[in-house]
Symmetry: C2
Subunit: 357 residues, 2 copies
């Protein structure tokens, strides 16, 4: 499988991005990572990794970079030869099955929006899904930042897409869907939440929909798909990240104060255990969030992604970019694929038909 | 000082509510807690506490209770003799200086909204402030649930009220104000966030306003006042609570697995330390969130409040219900008190004038 990686996207690109690609290519022999970016810089990073399987790490030159601080729409218009647009171009042309970027999220999403051909049939607006931990195992929160002005119909579609994702990728049986709200009672919240409730109640998905859930319910895991607009989801995702950082830094301080008092070896054991625990909460574990509702697959990574996060994102993109997930999304959103169209670029229509059936 | 306490509000009322009032009355000799609720039930709880200073724990009968699941506006209309409305009635009449409730938040806020006399002059909509921990000390997040349809002007006022609260109550010098958003760049977010930014930029508070902050910035503490609409703030507050619960439960599991391996006594020390740490994150410590922008003071407590939370809420209400906080809010929101009006019911206008000066 071929995946396009935005080699210039991320706070520290291209160094850790290319390093992650090399690790992924070594780990997954069936994977080819197309490195999109400034060819000279990318080649320089590749040269630092003599073990890299170069035949599966081709470079596609893009002369421009959209920075993390750039205004997405403006940057996409002005910098025509940027690495993000080029990645999407490769996907649209069927040359790759997925795209991965740790760059400007707004530009990644806007670039897909500009190219409506990239949407799966029936999808109104793609949404970014994030995986959160819970007492019952991983849960999906969607949308965490693709859509700042979500309508009820968007949230409804996020519920369906998130649910199919939870089934197909996380292996959850009959995942229940909850609407993030300020209380569990029906009338709570905003016009958006009330309209979304009504949509679900009258839909074929009514039995999967449990109604409103509150912030504190997320970690209980009674629902495995939590839907919200991209503003709330993004704030929640980043606040969760900040809370984990904060808690563990305080734990470390407390531990450092206590260590000298603990009998020999105990302090190290506790510290080691804390470190392993923290890694369970880190985004690097999941690599990034999939943008659901587009042809093929797209993983949007954290700006601070290191090699491990990029490697894991490529691994996730690899497992996502099969036809089944998208075929089921298309089927459930009620649209039919046009003749000759496949849910994933490069897949034969007949395969798509089988997968959808 | 006299404070009205909704004895019937809360998941386990009236037991822990009355117990908290008794503790507060014992701790603070200058405090009188007016217990509002079913007189028979409240008296029965008081009878369990022979040490209670009964002369400072008068009971005001209210025959009806608004339940946690009741629809606020409907319940306020149908149950005229409910304990929440009666508490506000005492405040409006100047018979108490503050109200405290762990009951239905929507009903608490709606009851204040119904009675526009309760608003401080110049205030558009009151907002609930919550205290979050950060690396720099406590920070204020406002609004966490009073206003589901905030306008830019509301968020602007929340910034000012939160800032004055941080100065007067948390003792922060020149607290900086940040707008919760999905990115730090100016144009990020929604129409609401962009309009709020513009309002601040053109206001006398421009120098205090740092612009957008992200979810992960909250715990850094670089800004001590974070403003957001009540939907986002409420989700954030409850998700933070859930995250802390989740993390500590996992830590406890991990610890339990490790304990037998640790040399004698070390496990207990670590467990004890963990317990102390967790208490720093618990809402019980702060008692509840103040509803800012109303005459007098109002603390809205967590529904699950126990005696300690109620006691702390009464303590906070006591320290809030001076004239200075409200006088400064009125002054900064550009409104003038009408002649003969005091920012806090029961305070002499001359005192208020002095405090504001």
């Amino acid at each position: 499988m071929r995946i396009a990686l935005d080699a210039m996207g991320g706070d520290f690109a291209p160094g850790p991005i290319v390093a992650g690609a090399v690790e992924a290519a070594i780990d997954l022999p069936e994977l080819t990572v197309v490195l999109v970016g400034d060819a000279e810089k990318v080649e320089a990073e590749l040269a630092k990794a003599p073990q890299a399987p170069r035949d599966r790490l081709p470079v596609v030159h893009a002369s421009q970079v959209i920075g993390m601080e750039d205004k997405p729409v403006e940057a996409l218009r002005k910098k025509r030869d940027n690495s993000i647009s080029k990645c999407w171009g490769l996907l649209a042309a069927g040359e790759v099955k997925a795209v991965v970027s740790a760059g400007n999220t707004g530009a990644m999403v806007a670039s897909a929006l500009f190219n409506a051909k990239m949407f799966l049939p029936g999808v109104r607006r793609p949404g970014i899904a994030a995986i959160f931990p819970s007492h019952q195992g991983p849960i999906v929160i969607i949308d965490v930042g693709a859509n700042m002005n979500a309508k009820a119909e968007d949230l409804y579609q996020y519920g369906i897409m998130g649910s199919i994702y939870a089934e197909e990728i996380l292996g959850v049986t009959h995942p229940r869907i909850g609407l993030l709200n300020v209380g569990t009672e029906d009338e709570k919240g905003t016009d958006l939440t009330r309209a979304t409730r009504s949509l679900f109640a009258e839909s074929p998905w009514a039995s999967r929909f449990v109604g409103n859930v509150e912030g504190r319910d997320i970690y209980e895991g009674h629902v495995r798909v939590v839907i919200c607009d991209g503003f709330v989801g993004n704030v929640l995702l980043k606040a969760g990240e900040g809370a984990v950082e904060f808690l563990f830094s305080i734990l470390r301080e407390e531990l450092a104060r206590m260590l000298p008092e603990l009998p020999g070896g105990a302090g190290q054991k506790v510290a080691g255990s804390l470190g392993r625990l923290k890694s369970r909460f880190e985004y690097e574990e999941f690599g990034g969030g999939p943008l659901l509702g587009i042809r093929g697959a797209c993983i949007i990574c954290h700006g601070a992604s290191g090699p491990r996060a990029i490697k894991n994102a490529l691994r996730v993109a690899h497992s996502l970019a099969d036809d089944r997930l998208n075929a089921r999304i298309v089927e459930q959103l009620g649209a039919k694929l046009e003749p000759g169209e496949a849910p994933t670029p490069g897949a034969a229509p007949s395969e798509a038909g089988t997968a959808a059936g």
